[in-house]
Symmetry: C2
Subunit: 413 residues, 2 copies
């Protein structure tokens, strides 16, 4: 079903990877201008999608593009244009005695497949990131956003043709269900698949892809309150990590508290958490303390409460004997996304940060900072919970691979 898309991508790959930095920047700056000048048309296309969905659907807001969101998309494209081109860098050079010149250079991955859901901004974001780094983008967006996505990709392809470039550098795949599997199995045509969306989408991609995947995983984030913590700061950080945006992967899901400060800390936490109607799943010690404080939405934790990604105003609370028990809990139940310690003892902080094996480890700050923008990477592609190739928030710089160039004049071995 997508054979012709794949063949076109293979041809486009060669021309996109040979574009100059200037050509890529010019294209993106022009794209940003063009979208901005067509705000009205974007919204009209978007309304065709919105009309198929009741406003009460939680996806409605994710799908909606208004003027300010369109402007934000254009600003994003300009930011990507301003990022440094990650390809073409010489990482290693060795001129051997026999005259052989060996270089390892960064080059584009080739063809990047992206599978995503209802947010139409992903279409433009990912196209810009792929193009900036010299890659072809094959986009499989959600059916809900079809008209909006098609408007954007038609526009991109028009502009590619105007600039004398291969329009197949960015392609929108059909929304038929079987297309996803075909894309995941397109070894030899697609170099990497990046899923963007819900955990079930990511799981489906990981379990079915034969093409390599950069996995952007779940966030079962922990905070450990050590007995040396400044409890005022710890309280503010725990509350912020939990409530500032509970639906995202860097939100707090489980709070671990040293036993000798647990009663004190929980007594202060209870009124703050109850302000936000947070359901607490507490181990027996914490349950006793919170029951005593008449905490309104209190449940006993069971084994499922550990390692649970709520993505909601719910939180697991467990009291631990100390650092080792906290680290063992995190080792066992964390999704290795973001885990932090709240403490004043520098030795304990270092032990925690060195030994907790997560993509991002924190001391004394909200888990909510784990984000490409907050970290200063520019437009984020995702947050990887893998250890190979990309880890934690990643952007443009991970859409490349390495390639060895060996130049000789008759050398044999």
């Amino acid at each position: 079903m997508i054979d012709s898309y794949l063949e076109h991508a293979k041809v486009a790959k060669r021309s996109v990877q040979n574009l100059s930095d200037e050509q890529k920047v010019d294209f993106l700056m022009e794209l940003s201008k063009r979208i901005l000048s067509l705000k009205q048309e974007v919204m009209e296309a978007n309304i065709q999608d919105l009309n198929k969905m009741p406003e009460s659907d939680p996806k409605y807001d994710r799908l909606l593009l208004d003027e300010s969101r369109i402007e934000a998309i254009c600003k994003g494209v300009q930011e990507v244009a301003r990022l440094e081109d990650p390809s073409g860098k010489v990482l290693y050079r060795n001129e051997k005695e026999n005259g052989l010149v060996i270089e390892k250079r960064t080059v584009p991955l080739g063809v990047v497949g992206v599978v995503y859901e209802s947010r139409p901004n992903v279409t433009v974001d990912v196209s810009a990131l792929a193009f900036r780094s010299g890659n072809v983008a094959l986009l499989r967006g959600g059916t809900d956003a079809f008209h909006t996505n098609k408007f954007f990709v038609d526009l991109i392809q028009e502009l590619l043709v105007e600039q004398g470039l291969d329009p197949h550098a960015v392609q929108l795949l059909p929304t038929d269900r079987e297309v996803v599997l075909e894309l995941l199995h397109a070894r030899g045509f697609v170099d990497v698949i990046i899923p963007r969306g819900s955990q079930s989408l990511i799981d489906f991609v990981r379990e079915n892809a034969t093409v390599p995947v950069i996995e952007t995983g779940a966030g079962v984030c922990h905070l450990y309150v050590h007995h040396s913590a400044d409890l005022d700061k710890a309280l503010a950080i725990a509350v912020n990590s939990k409530v500032s945006r509970p639906s995202v992967c860097n939100a707090l899901e489980c709070l671990l508290i040293d036993q000798n400060i647990a009663e004190d800390f929980l007594s202060r936490l209870a009124p703050e958490f109850s302000k936000f109607n947070i359901e607490v799943f507490a181990d027996s010690f914490a349950y006793g303390v919170l029951l005593n404080k008449d905490y309104p939405k209190l449940y006993q934790a069971n084994l499922e409460s550990f390692g649970k990604e709520y993505l909601a105003l719910k939180c697991t609370v467990r009291v631990v004997a100390g650092l080792d028990e906290a680290m063992n809990h995190i080792d066992r139940y964390s999704s290795k996304h973001t885990d932090g310690i709240l403490a004043q003892d520098q030795g304990v902080i270092e032990l925690f940060m060195e030994n907790v094996d997560s993509a991002a480890v924190y001391s004394n700050a909200s888990t909510r900072f784990t984000d490409g923008g907050e970290f200063g990477l520019g437009a984020e592609i995702g947050i990887s919970t893998q250890k190979l190739h990309a880890r934690g928030p990643f952007a443009l710089e991970k859409l490349i691979t390495e390639k060895w160039f060996v130049q000789g004049d008759g050398q044999t071995r």
Copy 2:
């Protein structure tokens, strides 16, 4: 069956990753000395393995350790000790206005599983590389080399204990068949699996592992003789690429020749190739020319001849119309390991090298140089044909991952 090994590895991981550079170097220098002083004992253990196998078995030579091979192993360990520690480097630092300090640092992967066959030197090489980069090594060697492997690992563990280190930093797994699958499925315990050995071993690992794999792939290497080539040099390079060690992955498997020089080049190639008794699988044009020259071991190429990894004194020969046809052939049939062009036209060389999508691309040199040692990387772990994480020959520097360290003083978002 290997649960206790995995649990021990998990504990050892924390201590190995916290060792200082000096501790790691001292250990390896001492290990090298120790093995050197026990050459006789190594050979005695090795004889127990050799005695189980007839000398005529092709594995006999791979298994055999004599004095010079043991010395080479020790030299290898010293070289690894001298390599720079790839962990602990700050790759990125961002001190935000709110005081948050964000760093991305290189850290050890954690637990590295290696599955290999009869060469016992791999046991020491890989242990040294894993230890140097702060990783725990879980080794699953072949049954054939059991006594030799056990001697080496016992020695390593003894020395670890002597130096007050965790002996489980290097562990030899039982040789039972089911151990391989258990290792490949040990998600959460093993961070990466590296297969070293035959293509069938590598395929088995790739197809069965749920732990991430760094795949060291087959080498279906091509050379393309462009009509601008210096035919004397081209001839020497083609012969060297094919004959100098036909059993290895960087040996030539398929020669592509521009039509307008094909008769001339093949006439010169025929006497050279026949000296080495090379069986040639030729397309119809080349077949006609070589038949005319009474080439002794000549066969007509069929579709199986394209993309075939012979690992023997056999070679596919195809005549092409020019650069595009050559690149299309390589795109379709290469294993993306090493492919080269023989030409004097710089423009053509550049087009070839930029557009051929292989781990290593060459101009005017033997494919046989694709090797960690030849490239100057020190002890090679393997040659990756993946695009993510590691590509081409890789060593110590790929046994690490990245980790984000975020240090705050109460920051919330």
